[in-house]
Symmetry: C2
Subunit: 197 residues, 2 copies
DNA sequence: GTCTATAAAACGATAGAC
DNA sequence: GTCTATCGTTTTATAGAC
């Protein structure tokens, strides 16, 4: 077994986490299918053959990356809940963060959206459910904010907000134009303002 | 040179077109990076080695597919212009077609959007400009419709409509739920209705 | 636990017979 | 023009020394 459980010697070098972190970045920049184990090993400073000490297959790394991205969403949600009292303020802060990161998103697309798209392509069932779970993480947090606003149509509103973001990310990255995403973020802010609590 | 120019013996079997057609479908279903030349050759009924009689490299096939998808957009635009007099009716008909094809779009994503995303991933310049050109084809036709409606903000409106579509496609395919796309199409119809000519 | 070496298969691309 | 056979490389995955 790798570095025991998540106890003491977990981060002795934390090579497993380094591998996941490197894979996260490479999957975002190059796509899942185009990223090789050698790429991940190189960036992690781990010898190629040693990767199989931490993961039993390539698909295992993909699953670990999806888990990491999902936790990333949870953490971001928790941060926003700590920083802002009202759910609407949280959603507006989220959109504001998107606008701030428009350069990175334009360069490589939304980290969550492109990962989901890469996981949908193989018509493998287990891969598709990973994509569904990841997207659901994003929608679920958004939905909860609308629920706390007292909206019965929270799910529909959440799907709309996430779709607005994903659409902006796809078009902006395809055109290579961050202004598209900035404009879309402004639209999202206005749309949020128009939602009655 | 392959089958001469685009003259008489162009479609003697039309194997080049069969290859492009097969690649179109496979790129949509599996993604560009995950599709091998053997996949394309198999589906085309062309021997693997023979692919290089029609294309000098794999990248050449990718470029040909982008060209075919771009022509597809032109043809669809021309069809809508023939069928509907007013630009608004054309846009509404386009959204209606999206709703009708929601099953296929949910299964594999938007053929144009996912192709663009696959072309953005390699930080290769020529690949990125292919993505930009393809997305621009989609936006340009939409923009022209808004222009014919007399709108000065035609570009912004076009970007918004395309982003609404792409966002719906990403979320629907990630969740594997066609209803998300159907709902999004209804929103797009209402949004179009609210646009003053 | 960590690393090197390498097996086994898949892939892009080429050569050359017909 | 069409097809088969194959080269050289890359990629996933394993074996085994330390």
């Amino acid at each position: 077994m790798p570095p025991q459980r998540k106890g003491a010697s977990e981060s002795r070098g934390g090579k497993r986490e380094q591998l996941v972190s490197a894979a996260c970045g490479l999957f975002h920049q190059q796509g899942v299918a185009a990223t090789t184990l050698a790429d991940i090993a190189d960036r992690s400073g781990v010898p190629l053959g040693n990767v199989y000490y931490y993961f039993k297959s390539r698909d295992d790394i993909v699953a670990a990356v999806v888990g990491a991205r999902s936790r990333e969403i949870q953490d971001l949600g928790a941060l926003l809940e700590k920083r802002h009292r009202s759910p609407k303020a949280r959603l507006k802060a989220l959109v504001s963060m998107v606008a701030d990161q428009r350069e990175a998103i334009t360069a490589y697309g939304c980290p969550y959206g492109t990962l989901c798209a890469d996981l949908v392509s193989p018509h493998d069932d287990s891969s598709r459910s990973l994509a569904a779970g990841l997207m659901q993480s994003l929608v679920a947090w958004t939905e909860q904010q609308f629920q706390e606003m007292g909206r019965r149509d929270a799910r529909a509103l959440a799907l709309e907000l996430v779709a607005l973001y994903q659409g902006g990310a796809v078009v902006a990255s395809a055109l290579g134009d961050p202004d598209v995403l900035a404009q879309q973020a402004r639209r999202m802010q206005r749309w949020l303002d128009s939602i009655e609590a």
